[in-house]
Symmetry: C2
Subunit: 406 residues, 2 copies
């Protein structure tokens, strides 16, 4: 038996934990050849693949090293398969999978990538292809994947955000004057990460994040101004957590910052809302204000949640296992009822995930006390534990592809 694995979409801190899980699954199930496709599905299309050296993998302790290595080690792509199943590209893909005698293809990615899994399975069905199972494995920092309790990658991003907020709080408190610091957090359509900034308050001796703005809600600039004024009555140095996708009803925050309207990856530049709000508040309230954009390190920090990494590994492992005799599935995790945090694993069809988005429930957003309670119960378990890093010369050292491929 042979399998092939690819990673797609935006990177996360635990996407390689899932890769390690798939490889471990293939080893435990005595697969002959374990192939790796570079740059997502493009590696299969362009015949740009590598093969796992099983001995290197096991002897080198690569499993643990992959779990400590953030960002897609196989590379990624933003390639959407055509709707038309008669397109030549499908033929090309399956010719290659047949040539390599692939039994299981595991595609690790987000909702766009699950669309790829769905389409490949539609092709399998309509062409009566047997013996090739295409399985998805979920990931995203945004936590907006449908059909599961939470997305692998979210916990580590939330952990990084909370760690950064603890040090940002230590920073903003030093001057004996009023200030507002607006921290811009990833999340274009869903505010899970911005809301998870509230976890930083947990066990802290005072409120650490004072206001939160998420894309699920829209407010006028005047409302925001009033909320800031109100908070400044009791707290000198405000920290505002703001999702990059938050929009005010006055459309003040979403003016393009510069002449070019997209980032070259065909996503509009939505960042800059914090800088804009800082400018507005300085103008209106005469308060010292500044913007802090938590940048791309959010999604690929090496301060990885152990809980997140372990769950991502398990999902990868289960993806391979599902592929042994089934296709068109994605392993997901759900949370058990009860006080203590415990998950169980099941599977769903890609249709439930592809092109859909899970948002923060409306009921959580009634007021900030409820949001704080709900998000803490929900997300605090997901940032627990630290994945150990290997340091050399004072810097983290990550595993390389050549460390475990032929």
């Amino acid at each position: 038996m042979n399998c092939i694995i690819a990673q797609s979409g935006g990177p996360t801190s635990v996407i390689n934990s899932s890769l390690a899980g798939v490889i471990q699954g293939a080893l435990d199930n005595n697969f002959d050849n374990i192939y790796l496709s570079l740059h997502g599905i493009e590696g299969i299309i362009n015949k740009d693949i590598l093969e796992v050296d099983k001995k290197k993998f096991v002897r080198g302790g690569v499993k643990e090293k992959l779990m400590a290595r953030p960002s897609s080690i196989l590379g990624s792509c933003r390639f959407k398969l055509p709707e038309d199943l008669n397109d030549d590209i499908y033929k090309k893909i399956f010719e290659f999978l047949l040539e390599k005698e692939i039994n299981v293809f595991v595609y690790i990615g987000g909702n766009d990538s699950m669309d790829t899994v769905k389409k490949l399975n539609a092709y399998i069905l309509s062409n009566n292809i047997e013996g090739i199972n295409v399985i998805g494995c979920p990931k995203t920092i945004d936590n907006d994947l449908n059909g599961m309790d939470h997305s692998p990658g979210f916990g580590s991003a939330a952990k990084y955000i909370c760690q950064s907020l603890r040090t940002i709080r230590a920073d903003v408190d030093i001057y004996d004057l009023e200030s507002v610091t607006i921290v811009e957090i990833m999340g274009r359509h869903a505010g899970w990460l911005a809301a998870s900034s509230l976890l930083a308050d947990f066990g802290y001796h005072k409120e650490l994040v004072n206001l939160v703005y998420v894309p699920e809600e829209s407010k006028s600039l005047k409302e925001i101004e009033e909320e800031v004024k109100e908070k400044l009555k009791t707290e000198k140095n405000l920290i505002i957590a703001m999702a990059e996708g938050f929009r005010d009803t006055d459309s003040y925050l979403d003016k393009p910052m510069f002449s070019n309207s997209d980032d070259g990856f065909n996503h509009p530049i939505v960042s800059g809302v914090a800088q804009r709000l800082a400018d507005y508040l300085r103008d209106k309230l005469g308060v010292k204000s500044r913007a802090v954009e938590l940048n791309i390190v959010q999604r690929t920090s090496n301060h990885i949640s152990k809980t997140d990494a372990d769950e991502a590994f398990k999902l990868g492992y289960l993806a391979l296992k599902l592929g042994l005799d089934k296709t068109n599935l994605i392993p997901v995790l759900r949370r058990k009822e009860g006080k203590s945090y415990e998950v169980f694993y099941t599977e769903v069809e890609p249709d439930l995930i592809a092109n859909k988005e899970m948002k923060i429930p409306e009921s959580w957003l009634k007021d900030r006390k409820i949001l704080r309670e709900k998000i803490t119960a929900y997300a605090l378990p997901l940032i627990q534990g630290e994945v150990e890093q290997r340091y050399e010369n004072g810097m983290p050292v990550f595993v390389e592809l050549s460390d475990f491929t032929k």
Copy 2:
């Protein structure tokens, strides 16, 4: 004997290591009362002080906890003493110091704060005050303090920058297309931190940072464009390290980004150069480009260099010791000649440091190969070792003032 300690200027990751050093020095020299002034010199002016509980300090292992706690725990100020020594404020300060029977006042800060040390000593001299010694203790992330080999705080900031660049490199390499990522790094007048980004290359399997721009040099946009084009011939995903204070000869990068021209702390908003250059390159070269601003976490990261923390502690310890029988001094560290990294400690007068700036030597900037060699030999030793952090609930927990004060 009594002493008082204050912290001033911008925060660093090891400014509390110096505080711990001063306190340890006071304990070892059997001081009776160890006072802490809150918000720099303002705490003395406003009688806003605390006293160290010696038993709590020792029993609570506070020394190690302070060394793991970034950002000025005593708070800070941006207060410049008047030039006129007859100003009432001097009288007020010394009345308080006499009232509390202070023998040693240690002021931990940067070049502005060393100006304060200088002025207080001028007052002591002109008023024949005896028995009060005012000693400075150096810190800054910018590494621009004159009279010493390097500044405490620089090593930890450089370490954070290199760690971030390792993960940013893992991120930018994932797509199989040309891209330019411009990382904006702190440094208004000196490029030490931007240049230290080159350390991230050390032991890495390829060039990690491809181009570096520092405030010590100015270039035209056309020159930058040509350098980027040249680099893109051999590397698909460029990373450019750019100091926030870098300026092009065309004055394109220093347009104010928004309507307000300062950050409320009376510093002009100079950030945004990376965003601007990303925009320019996208326009001119049609290349995918984005800006990553390494934000204030640079200066208060809890990923602290052990070397840096140990040196900062030693300087604090020596500051107190100098104050036993001398005044108007600042302990500094210098590097011993020879292949292996070793420092020795000596002292200078504040005049050598106050209001001065140390820049990257011109000879280092002749070409990038030389800069890489020079900065690596210089700064790599400074990022070595990791200060252990205490984690609770998946987040770092820092020591509080109440953990070691009465």
